[in-house]
Symmetry: C2
Subunit: 360 residues, 2 copies
Amino acid sequence: MAIVRKNILNVKPYVAGKPIEETKRQLGLKEVVKLASNENPLGASPKALAAIKKNLSGINRYPDSQGWYLKKRLARFLNVGPLELVLGNGSDELIDIIIKTFVEDEENIITADTTFLEYEIIASVLGREIIKVPLKYFKYDLEAIKKNITKKTKLIFISNPNNPTGTYVTKYELQDFIKGLPEDLILVLDEAYDTFIDVDDFPNSLALIRNKNVIALKTFSKAYGLAGLRIGYAVARTEFTAFMERARQPFNVNLLAQQAAIAALDDKRFLKKTRKIILEGKSYLYDNLHKMGISYVPSVANFILIDVGRDCLAVFKDMLKFGVIVRDMQQYGLKNFIRVTIGTKKENERFIKVLKKVLR
Amino acid sequence: MAIVRKNILNVKPYVAGKPIEETKRQLGLKEVVKLASNENPLGASPKALAAIKKNLSGINRYPDSQGWYLKKRLARFLNVGPLELVLGNGSDELIDIIIKTFVEDEENIITADTTFLEYEIIASVLGREIIKVPLKYFKYDLEAIKKNITKKTKLIFISNPNNPTGTYVTKYELQDFIKGLPEDLILVLDEAYDTFIDVDDFPNSLALIRNKNVIALKTFSKAYGLAGLRIGYAVARTEFTAFMERARQPFNVNLLAQQAAIAALDDKRFLKKTRKIILEGKSYLYDNLHKMGISYVPSVANFILIDVGRDCLAVFKDMLKFGVIVRDMQQYGLKNFIRVTIGTKKENERFIKVLKKVLR
């Protein structure tokens, strides 16, 4: 008997975006711009910050284990029932909860080979087989995924829009894909970036949850600016959520996150401002990359995958020296690519300036 | 193929202590005292509250995935290395991480039958067998536990002091117990309540981590008053923590919890005040229960298990009507017992007054 589980030995640890403070300290820099983790460059919603201050004195108490007030508010916002929601310590935890709830040891999971890394990491921690189907022109290849489905397949994870490519599965493609799926297979649509969408043919996942085996994942970490607080949620029919609730730990979502999320949902102005700055920033970055003759993948999210045409780790390191943190795509297997989060006007200008310097 | 995993059907959901707001709303009460979840009745450390305010503007950023500053501070505080620590979203999550890291499907876990319920719940979510050995006079029966160890046994959870009995395993008992353990078995000492200890023979778990297969679990939810923020940690030798880090999700501990915990560790005055109020409150409650002719289990923690001599659910409900929330022990299988958290002087007086009324 070994001291550690066999499959733990095969888990590849996740490499997070480099924190601002650490970069300042290590490189002796005064001003550092972080465009590495698809965070909201405007900060958090002022309404959320006010809600946190108001609830500070209660943090000696455990959070509401049912998340009742947030679920009620979310249900109204989404036009679903409160019991069709499961709250998580970020979407990461919901991925863990979903696998624990639905996938037996001998069953498997399918996703893309260049997508959010946590699907594979969490599946491998839990000792579940995960099949990674190559992207086709930077997009989920739904036909190839369908061909990989066997009797063992229980879950499919689709990151839509896909992190790190910024591409998306259209509603027409999704309709076709769902038609032929086996009855007992569950499709997870991870829509962390859906608030940035600027196209008309993006699927409406919530319209599917009652008649299809679909679970939608949403987060407050991106557009709502609450990444540091950790809160996401799943939407699914009650038959699924009731089981997921059994796998959820009672106090998984902290008290301040619950209160901040309630307030952030009401802050339409902040969300509007965020969308505006991201869409304007995207145009600016597209224009400048085009002028520089640099290829990128058109994105419907708040980040852009850029082909730098040379070793991405070197580009990452060189940009770091000038105080700009981007994400090199080494870990994702895209060795000549970096992913840049769309920032404020000033941050985007700085990024372009430094990228020019580094690629010169 | 069923839609849900077989073992999820057998998970008994955890029933949390009733929240104050919910009780007020449901019963139309203005003043409600919660003595149900072993929280700090003084609130959170003022230094922790100040640290949260100071870091509020950064919550749009992901937390430090390594928890570097908190680990450095904790290491100094505990006199261990930073790499001998793993941070968790409360101790609950660390239990999940430990089982995922070390216990294979076919291995088993031993604990007591009347102890912290999450050991059993989390093991059953993960589909691991858990053997529950009866307490002996409200204490962990280490001899009986030893007899239950087989080749399949990988983990033993000891809640020390034990929730919900308030009893503890002494250093002499632990020394003897550890001597005969198989080489590849890991002992988890869950010391959530160790800051309230007022005895001299409590074990020093940290002295064991380098030479024995011991993992100590600690929390900021009790004496440090940060239950709402969710933060706990494990101390073990680096051979163990390195594997546990692979099972941990990168952003499991939120940013404000990390900052609050750093500040709380420095607030010796708050901790001293907390200990004082708990020890004084314990004397007061002991005295009054004694005068009322009511039996209780002597406790080294911040709660007392009380034999009310009748159906505990009825007592719980009757006390609730008078605005005092205690914990009935139905779920723990102790049908005539309630568990009361030691509160402020005023709260303890209210508890005794209402208990007298209800038991009359």
